[in-house]
């Protein structure tokens, strides 16, 4: 999977979870910029990503995913394993 494919998949998930059809994210997008991105919605995001990319995050990885860029890094490593 290319970084772009993963990025587009993640953007779709963000759009669904936050219900904003035109939401544009980038690598530095973090919970500071999206008002509804609280700890419970973080769980919802992560769970949707796991389903979409058929991967499982390790317990320790969840806390490290502070912004979209690191999320995509970890997804890329896992999907290309």
């Amino acid at each position: 999977m290319t970084r772009e494919e993963v990025f587009n998949g993640v953007q779709d998930i963000f759009r669904d979870i936050f219900d904003e059809d035109n939401l544009i994210i980038n690598n530095t997008t973090s919970s500071d910029e999206i008002e509804d991105w609280d700890s419970l919605n973080h769980i919802n995001l992560v769970s949707a990503i796991e389903k979409e990319f058929k991967i499982k995050f390790a317990f320790g990885e969840l806390v490290t995913m502070k912004d979209v860029g690191t999320m995509i890094d970890i997804i890329l490593i896992k999907t290309n394993d």
């Binding site: 669904d16 979870i17 219900d19 700890s39 419970l40 769980i43 919802n44 389903k51 317990f59």
Partner: protein, 602 residues
């Protein structure tokens, strides 16, 4: 606007991924519906409830209920229930849902503890919940309480379920105590997560990682199933359960086509695997019928052939089990409309099962309010579509429900008689009708509450009441509250009419006037009016004020007050207000012998 359609992701089999990911857009869509009823729901959580609330909201909206929620702070279920708080006290709840699980069990038995010490532990644990339920009783509303799921780990292995020190054993004891309490405490309903978790598989039900991260006591993918389960109980509490199962015949009730294969050629019985699948489906339908669900047949067939199918010696269902039987060549949606009319129930009280996708499509597209589950072509899956969707979920087994089918069958006999009389009056006289029309008494309060919540057609205001409210009205002098029971020569129709009037100064305002459609055109409404007027006079009332609030289903009673001789005094869009001075009122009922409170007391 395009016709509103139910969201199939929210019906069995649930599309859990869609629900979790698209919940916000699903919610927006569901909010476009007309005629939503609003309810206030309190969620008292022993663990995180955020997604439980969000998803429950969708299931309720999908059934026409718009919920306002109050959520307790994390794990404050006990404190909120016992000590309340300002917000909760003002919230005016209709339903409490207590979201607890095995994570909330305070202390399991230690391995050295004696039997009596363990039974003390059990009663301590029970005491917490009993005090919650008794404290919430002041709100007079339904309490939905989870029982307990099993723990994933069992350090005693298989012994865990049989040794008194086992966690599994302890949980089973608690669940049995919960069941007992729900039979004893009015308005306490158990949400059976013990069943649900085993249905889904414990390993998919509980997600350790999610518990440590976010304190959810169940996995995210189990939350829609949990919410679905709660919503079925809530639907049933508000009278939204279905009433009638409409069945196709060929390849639904038996294997093969009766018209082609003949009675000897259809598959039913226990001889072959295929026959057995149809037999078990018939058994399931028969069980539903025995507990009060009405059965109807809707088949493209010659009537004689169709009827003959149920004469098969191995057939579990018999022709007489069907309250309405349509076997002809008309389009099925027309037959289904006829069935609803014949049984006298709302079209949205029906569900239709057919192995043929074309027939399902026609019915679904022509009458969207009929539930048409996508059962596929194989009878082996039909039961789960009926069962898992909870169409017929009962909150209790009332004698009236179990007898309901008898009423409809008696009604058929009445219809036959009717055609042989010269006039309708003559027919009414011949019925030898007698009625009890009296003030609410405690033995009938459950039935009264049930009827107030499920009557849609003969209902002037469509006001819904909780059991608690009905209890308060029963005890209040400010209300005239009468029920009617009607018996005729064919049998007892049970409690079928309710009128609630609020007395204020010299006026009586009719908050509720309902009647079951099974006694339409029997003049029962006149007998009710006579008694209302009599009680009004006793209370010094000189004028009765009636209200008609239009709903999607109550056009049948649009002119009821006019028929009663009331005068129209106010109109606001399609709602109307009516008044009747009663000083010179003359009794209107001519056909029903009535015993009321007065005659009993004399």
């Amino acid at each position: 606007m395009e016709i509103y359609k139910k969201i199939t992701a929210l019906e069995y089999p649930l599309d859990v991924n869609i629900i979790l990911r698209k919940k916000k857009s699903i919610k927006k869509y569901l909010l476009l519906q007309d005629n939503l009823i609003e309810k206030n729901i309190v969620i008292l959580g022993g663990s995180t409830t955020s997604e439980v609330k969000n998803i429950l909201e969708l299931f309720l909206l999908n059934n026409g209920i718009k919920a306002n929620f109050y959520e307790s702070e994390y794990n404050k279920f006990y404190e909120d229930a016992l000590f309340g708080n300002d917000i909760l006290d003002k919230f005016n709840p209709d339903i409490f849902y207590i979201h607890t699980s095995n994570q909330n069990i305070i202390k399991y038995p230690g391995y050295k503890e004696s039997e009596s010490e363990i039974s003390t532990l059990l009663s301590n644990e029970m005491q917490r919940y009993k005090s919650i339920w008794s404290s919430l009783s002041k709100f007079d509303c339904a309490i939905i309480q989870n029982n307990f799921d099993y723990t994933l780990d069992r350090s005693l292995g298989n012994l865990d379920s049989s040794d008194i020190h086992g966690k599994t054993y302890f949980i089973n004891q608690l669940n049995s105590e919960f069941a007992k309490s729900s039979r004893e405490i009015k308005n306490l309903y158990i949400n059976d997560i013990n069943y649900l978790s085993s249905y889904l598989g414990l390993k998919d039900w509980f997600d350790k990682s999610l518990w440590y991260q976010a304190k959810y006591a169940l996995s995210l993918s189990a939350i829609p199933e949990l919410a679905f389960s709660i919503s079925k109980i809530i639907n049933s509490i508000f009278g939204k359960a279905k009433k009638c199962l409409v069945l196709d015949l060929d390849n639904t009730c038996w294997g093969g086509v009766i018209g082609d294969d003949g009675l000897g050629g259809i598959h039913i019985g226990t001889e072959t695997a295929v026959s057995e699948t149809f037999t078990s489906f018939q058994k399931y339908a028969k069980e539903l019928k025995q507990r009060g669900v009405t059965l109807a047949a809707c088949s493209k067939n010659n009537f004689k052939n169709a009827k003959e199918g149920f004469e098969h010696p191995e057939s579990i269902l018999k022709f007489d089990d069907f309250t309405s039987f349509k076997a002809n060549w008309n389009p099925k949606h027309q037959n289904i409309i006829e069935i609803a009319k014949e049984i006298n129930i709302g079209i949205d009280s029906l569900i239709f099962i057919d192995d043929n996708p074309v027939e399902r499509d026609i019915v679904f597209s022509q009458i969207p309010s009929v539930a048409v589950p996508n059962v596929g072509a194989d009878v082996i899956h039909f039961i789960e579509h009926i069962d898992r969707n909870g169409y017929f979920e009962p909150i209790s087994l009332l004698a009236d429900d179990i007898n309901r089918n008898q009423f409809y069958e008696d009604n058929k006999k009445r219809a036959v008689e009717q055609s042989t009389f010269k006039s309708y009056d003559e027919f009414l006289v011949s019925l030898d009708m007698t009625a009890d029309i009296k003030s609410f008494s405690s033995i009938y309060l459950d039935r009264i509450t049930q009827l107030t919540n499920k009557t849609n057609q003969f209902n002037l205001t469509t006001k819904r009441y909780t059991a608690g409210e009905i209890g308060n009205i029963a005890n209040s002098d400010d209300y005239i509250k009468i029920y009617g029971k009607l018996t005729d020569k064919y049998g007892d129709n049970g409690l079928i009419a309710i009128t609630i009037g609020r007395v204020k100064e010299k006026q009586c305002h009719i908050d509720l006037w309902i009647m079951s459609c099974r006694v339409l055109k029997r003049d029962m409404e006149f007998a009710m009016l006579d008694e209302l007027v009599r009680q009004c006079k006793e209370k010094g009332v000189s004028e009765i004020v009636g209200y008609y609030f239009k709903s999607a289903k109550n056009s049948m009673v649009l002119d009821l007050y006019e028929k009663f001789g009331f005068e129209l005094t106010d109109t606001s869009s399609e709602d109307t207000v009516w008044k009747l001075g009663i000083l010179n009122y003359k009794n209107k009922n001519k056909f029903i012998g009535v015993s009321n409170d007065q005659r009993r007391s004399i």
